[in-house]
Symmetry: C2
Subunit: 541 residues, 2 copies
């Protein structure tokens, strides 16, 4: 029996229409370092209509891809709205990736048009000749200068919009059709494209507005620090248009000092960014105090947030920190760490520093090393798998069966789920040591080794083992002048870890190799061990 | 281009699974007049599984209809969860309808099973022989006594659940399939069935949790006064299971005194009911003060809420009143009257007494007397039409083209929509007077006539007119001892109304006929005019 409910699709066109009329009086403010640019949601809707007409004029039709190479600003938001609403597909290019990866990604997605910020031309111009499918480049916020390439037309954003109609008859869409795409650069192999639908973006925006999501509300002044080329800026631009929350866009001013000035000047009530940004802001505020009292709550996600950082913001600045977990493949909102109702003190805190509680639309399960679904008992460790209407089931033109398990996304994150739905991550699946059918958390081992007074840093990787499949190897950096033997470190670990978890392979190194964002580069450590350049000693009791 | 998002359906089975695990520690409390009954969400989920097994045992399969004839209580909630989750269709029978209408409705829906509260058996037993499709009656909360009918098996609810398994493998469903149905008794013709889908209930529950909906949050102690047989108790039972909001169920104790006692004892933070209930509660609290300080906000809807009532709750009891609009055909949440962010004083108040702002999922438009879409300018009056994923597109086995306009629901409500999305209703479409291609609001006319010092009550209906199609007729009740001539009333109206809006037909009556809920019974007034029993004088200038 069918319901008698309407088959009304959820579409970005409706979202744009709603935000630019009902919430037309709200505004987008783009920071410029000096006088901010302010455009109402109403005028943003009009400019999105003009952009859509301009893109049609360039031949953008059906599901053609329109890429962006932009900071978080007014024009990028216009592309966010116009491109999916007109039925085309928005593709946000990550300006931080190496040139060859950007070229690969743009080619894989078959981008037809790229909208580029003028301030990014020095980065973009050398790339352009390698973007083989691109026929049009639109330069926003400045002069294209000498930008040129064979078979490519270069346009000025404002000139292209000039004289276009202020309204666009946004077409009806199938809600499961593509609206936007974002590539995630895996640790191995080529980057993978996640393709969001009108449906997934709409539902995700509702979730940002629910009390167990981010609770975004009308009038929240929302500072979107997280880049619009990174997991759709965590869905904030679309949700803000739905909720009627004024948007504050930092453009390229993401360093701690301008960020602090921007917060003092534009007075956001709500902001979202990765821990590194908040860490930098905290140090800046300590050095150069500013009035940041407008900020009531900030969402921190993207990687695990140190509890000390959360405490510092709350105790020193009265700002509530919401820890959240997600990934490009989950749109990205997976879980938000609200304390359970009625909990206080340490109990509340232990929940708030977890990755948070999965909402009803993100079903989670823990799959153990044996491939079996483990109980959600808060203790059994395994890989987190998720399922739901804004979770990916495949990559674009790449089914990647390694990543998808019968309708569930393998997140690659390892941890536990409690009976009341809280997620606590302990490691990445690729870093965990699979020893004799059990898992050893590399992160837990590192923390325990680093607790020894002689140790400055310790990184743990898995090395092959004939008997146990894998065993842990610890790369140790000693504090200046300190000495310690593996046997002593092993004895030290016996206090906190099970006997079979204690590593026998130890390497003493000058420094631990790190990635560009400062994380331990475990791939390089594994490589150095494999090619013999990292020497380890093996010690048994 | 298809998205790569999962095709994960939104289903009541997932909602039940989520609420009874992640929020398993929350509880449903049913008032009994004495010691309340308390059952955790976890056990409620288990009992729902048992009920599903029991219903399968009675032959309930596929999309068969399981009806309820129950108060708001634990067992009714179990049916809300079990029946749709198992893939069958829940049909809530309105216990307040006349017997012949209930028989019609149960037959039209082809109800196979009815679950009945024992306390309602005196009402139900005489009905049973007329329920031709019903094969099983399950009596909850007491003894079936001598209940019997030809071809009907009678069961005890608890006995039927005894020994059934605590889990049920809720089947995958198509999210657009029927989950529940509710009949609305129109003013003319037979009652009409609205069939909700898994999708519409899920989305509606999310909306109850959004900041521009009811903002229901985990730990909100939610008192569902609005009956579960009336527009799904405004979606509160499902939303509470999704949000983890403890539910407080009043059972049959809906009179002001027990309601006040229940609030003092069970301390809800949130409640929802029609104005009549709140009016009664307010009078009760004035007469017999109680501690109702746990209530932070209440939602009032179902019919327009007098601003004086809203003010009284806020000023005398510190309870924020949220005015809301909706109907059975809109699941029912249409709009909620939050004040715009930043507004204060009279400005905020003028928005809060409106019907509220339509959310993104409920598109609205105003259609004028000429059948054309009017601007949303807050001034142009017309019939409200709505569209969205939880709005009906037809009735069950009744396309009713009168009610549905090319994908839009004709609400039958007349008013304006402001540019910022606020709905202000002025009349019902059936009561408005269509005079010469323009509309005259019967409610505005009544209020203006009642402002005259000699008038106690005034009801306005349309009467046929050869030249203007319709003209208003005013039935006036004078205050004791007062006299006034139609000419004087017409002169009095000239201050507030346009000349062509001033009525020429006047009837002086002893009292205005009223419906069972105390509203003017305009059908009877029109009938009395048509059959000549209501005498009117006609006065021109």
């Amino acid at each position: 029996m069918r319901s008698t409910m309407q088959d009304a699709p959820m579409s970005i066109g409706d979202l744009v229409r709603y935000g630019s009329t009902v919430h037309g009086g709200e505004a987008v403010t783009t920071w410029t370092g000096a006088e901010p640019r302010r455009v109402s949601f109403r005028d943003t809707g009009r400019r999105a209509a003009r952009l859509a007409h301009a893109l049609r004029g360039l031949g953008v039709d059906a599901d053609q891809r329109v890429a962006t190479f932009q900071w978080n600003n007014q024009e990028h938001l216009e592309a966010y709205l116009a491109v999916p609403a007109m039925g085309a597909v928005l593709h946000t290019l990550n300006i931080r990736l190496p040139a060859d990866q950007i070229a690969y990604i743009a080619g894989h997605a078959e981008d037809h048009v790229v909208i580029v910020d003028a301030s990014l031309l020095p980065l973009f111009a050398p790339l352009l000749p390698s973007l083989s499918t691109v026929r049009h480049v639109i330069v926003a916020g400045g002069d294209p200068g000498g930008l040129a390439a064979e078979g490519v037309e270069v346009h000025r954003y404002d000139a292209l919009l000039d004289g276009q109609p202020d309204t666009f008859d946004w077409p009806e869409v199938d809600e499961r059709d593509a609206a936007a795409m974002c590539y995630t650069s895996g640790t191995t192999g080529d980057p993978k494209g996640v393709v969001y639908s009108h449906r997934s973006i709409w539902l995700h925006s509702m979730q940002v507005m629910t009390t167990d999501g981010m609770g975004m509300t009308q009038g929240d002044r929302c500072l979107a620090v997280v880049p619009m080329f990174h997991a759709m800026s965590w869905g904030l631009p679309y949700a803000a248009f739905m909720a009627g929350a004024p948007l504050i866009m930092p453009d390229r001013f993401l360093q701690p000092a301008p960020l602090a000035e921007m917060i003092e000047t534009l007075r956001p009530s709500f902001a979202a960014a990765v821990p590194t940004i908040w860490q930098g802001l905290l140090q800046e505020l300590d050095a150069n105090p500013r009035d940041v009292s407008s900020l009531h709550r900030v969402v921190i996600g993207g990687s695990a947030c140190p509890p000390s950082l959360m405490r510092a913001f709350e105790e020193r600045h009265g700002i509530t920190v919401l820890h959240a977990w997600g990934m490009t493949e989950t749109s990205p909102l997976g879980s938000v760490a609200h304390a359970p109702a009625g909990s206080t003190g340490d109990d509340a805190w232990s929940h708030r520093i977890s990755q948070g509680r999965l909402p009803v639309s993100v079903r989670g399960r823990i799959v153990g090393p044996d491939g079996k679904v483990a109980p959600n008992d808060g203790e059994t460790v395994g890989e987190l798998q998720v399922r739901g209407p804004w979770v990916a089931q495949a990559y674009y033109r790449d089914a990647d069966p390694e990543r998808f398990d019968n309708g569930w996304l393998r997140t690659g994150d390892v941890g536990t789920l409690s009976p009341d739905g809280y997620l606590r991550l302990t490691d990445r699946a690729k870093d965990v040591i699979k020893s004799g059918g059990e898992w050893i958390s590399s992160v837990a081992l590192e923390n325990n080794v680093m607790a020894h007074p002689a140790v400055a840093e310790a990184a743990v990787v898995a090395v092959p083992d004939a008997k146990w499949a894998e065993r842990p190897l610890v790369a140790v950096v000693l504090k200046e002048g300190a000495t310690v033997e593996p046997a002593e470190l092993r004895a030290f670990l016996a206090d906190t870890m099970a006997r079979w978890q204690i590593p026998e392979h130890w390497a003493f190194v000058e420094e631990v190799p790190k990635t560009s964002v400062g994380k331990f580069d475990k791939k390089r450590i594994r490589g150095a061990h494999a090619d013999g350049s990292l020497k380890a000693v093996t010690v048994h009791d």
